[in-house]
């Protein structure tokens, strides 16, 4: 067929238009969903944060920035923010390091690769609340096997979940257990993209010890993956809620209360929707900043490919 056999030129734009129409049609369900369930509620939260509305009340009044003013002087908020920050500071680096270690270890061994991979990924796919109940039993002050083990090696039994000094580290350990497997799976995918020729070249060039291979090839080549992983895990960790709700309810004496749990309490226990909305807006802003950092870093880190 020659070019003359094609339909006249005027037809092209209209067919392109109808194509665009079909494209919008396909995207529509997602866009509608995003608008209804994400953007609209977010907008609602922002509006409510400037009001004094309490759940169930008929009166609603403009409250200005009063909610935000209260927030910055509220010791409960600062306590939760500190707890959340400490929790992130513990959980993110350790679960990332542990996940990388597991991924490299499992990827380099032939034996039981599938088993170990599944075992480490299990916490990620299992229901947090169900797992929390298991952990509650494991950590039980008198009946728990963890304490039984401690006693066995001569350390007195601990009240992991009701000791104010221990509760946050305990929850952090749980968080690490929960997130390391996720890191591992992501890093394993990253490891697969490293050409094996690089390792061959490195061993010919004299770097054949595992540690040298890791620092000269694996770690630098994982760069873009690592930026992605750290941010993703940070975003997951900041949103910690179920563990706290299921294991400690923020106790003892708010020692394990995190931001999301405070929002939940303010909104659904004290019915102060206006104040809870203000908390949510602040939390959203922090998440947004993290996202922006992620995209900026990813753009820069993707320079190898």
């Amino acid at each position: 067929m020659t070019a003359d056999a094609l339909p006249a030129n005027s037809l092209v734009p209209s067919s392109r238009r109808s194509q665009a129409g079909i494209a919008w049609l396909f995207v529509a369900p997602l866009l509608i969903g995003l608008f209804l369930f994400l953007l609209l509620p977010s907008l609602g939260v922002v509006i409510l944060s400037f009001s004094d509305w309490k759940l169930g009340e008929k009166n609603i009044a403009f409250y200005g920035l009063a909610n935000y003013m209260e927030l910055f002087t509220d010791p409960v908020f600062w306590n939760s923010a500190t707890n959340t920050a400490l929790y992130c500071l513990f959980v993110t680096p350790i679960s990332v390091a542990l996940g990388v270690w597991l991924a490299v270890l499992i990827e380099s061994s032939r034996l039981g690769r599938v088993f170990f991979r599944s075992a480490c990924f299990l916490p990620v796919v299992s229901t947090t609340v169900a797992m929390a109940i298991v952990w509650e039993f494991l950590l039980h002050p008198t009946l728990g096997p963890v304490n039984a083990l401690l006693v066995l090696i001569g350390i007195p039994a601990q009240r992991f979940l009701s000791d104010a000094a221990l509760v946050l580290p305990t929850l952090a350990a749980y968080g690490i257990w929960e997130n390391a497997g996720y890191v591992m799976v992501l890093v394993m995918a990253g490891l697969k993209t490293i050409p094996s020729d690089l390792y061959s070249a490195a061993s010919v060039d004299g770097a054949d010890r595992p540690w040298e291979r890791f620092w000269t090839i694996t770690w630098p080549m994982l760069g873009p993956t690592m930026v992605f992983v750290v941010i993703i895990i940070l975003l997951r960790v900041v949103r910690v809620f179920e563990t706290v709700a299921a294991l400690t309810q923020g106790g003892p004496h708010r020692a394990s209360e995190v931001i999301l749990y405070t929002i939940y309490l303010e909104g659904f226990n004290y019915f102060r929707i206006g104040y809870a909305s203000a908390l949510t807006v602040v939390f959203l802003l922090v998440m947004l900043i993290l996202m922006l950092i992620k995209f900026r870093l990813l753009d820069r880190a993707a320079h190898y490919q």
Binding site: P195, D197, L198, S200, A201, A202, S203, V204, D205, G206, A207, D208, E212, T216, I217, P220, M221, G223, H303, Y304
Partner: protein, 394 residues
Amino acid sequence: MAFLELRNLSKSFDSTPVLRSIDLSVDEGEFVAVVGPSGCGKSTLLRIIAGLEAHEAGEILISGVRVDALPPKARDIAMVFQSYALYPHMTVAQNLAFPLVMRDLSRLERLPLVRRLNHRVAAKYRDIRATIEETAALVELSSLLERKPKQLSGGQQQRVALARALVRQPSLFLLDEPLSNLDAALRASTRTEIVELQRRLGVTTVYVTHDQTEAMTMARRIAVMMDGKIVQMGQAEEIYRLPNDLRVAQFIGMPQMTLLPGDVRGGVIWVAGAQTLGRVAKPASPRVTVGYRAEDIKLADGSTTSLTGILRHVEFLGSEALIHLELTGLPEVAPLIVRVAPDTPMDLAPGTVYGIALDPRNAHVFGADGRRLDFEPLAHAATMSAGVVGGNGA
């Protein structure tokens, strides 16, 4: 004494043999090419020499010392990979420095900051820098030292890979298809560059390729590998003139050797049932294959020869032309390819019938097992064509 010696080397992947008792010896300073189709085991062979893969049986000796148990870095070898395997996060200078740093500096000295604190280490880094610059000049990379591999063209990356291999002055240089990612023009010029570089440095070289042109133009000696075995080893001309195996005959030479069916009757070899070639020295299988190089087949008037062909297709290549002929009466046989001078006055219309003159002295005869068959050519052209036209009913 051979510098690199492989004795009886064998290797298999999951019970599939990939190398079957390989013997190979390379003299000091020699350039040897290992050539074969993909999957013949040539890259595995190179990786075993480098120590990147383990073999199951046999010995590897480098200057008389067994190196089988040594790791790659202890074998004093350097390797260029098909993918170049440049470290993408390092600059060209860092890529070149890497083998030197790993060899010359202890683990402690390699730690960050030590270079700033210790004069001796700083001096070592200065030496390394000097060596890098020298090597970079050798392959014309001096102006690109601070670039990352990604910022270089394919040809430049290839030169970095070469330089990184040469920078340590290894005693054995292994190249695994180093040119296959380059375009045709660059490949030809790089071929010459590598040969000149090798000659200048005098480093013993094993070069693996699937490209027979590379093997024939670059190497002093060629090892042809098929199905995990070295089938023939020798100089390019020897392998071209006297291929000792049907697979070698087909693999080496452009265009491919024309193969014709042959049979042995009463100790005499017949080609295509129409023409005699010679007497076999030893009793042979009744079925044989007769091969002719394109330049060894002569065209004649159709009435003077016992074999004729119908012109089907002409390839004009500038300095020569290749004429494809279908054997009269034997359309199932792959076409004969005849090389002629481009200015030969002849009728090139498809369908023209030509006589095919086969000189018995130029024939390559292979038995049913694919091995070359020695025979005594019949000298008299007259006897061979007389009265055989009637026997064309094969």
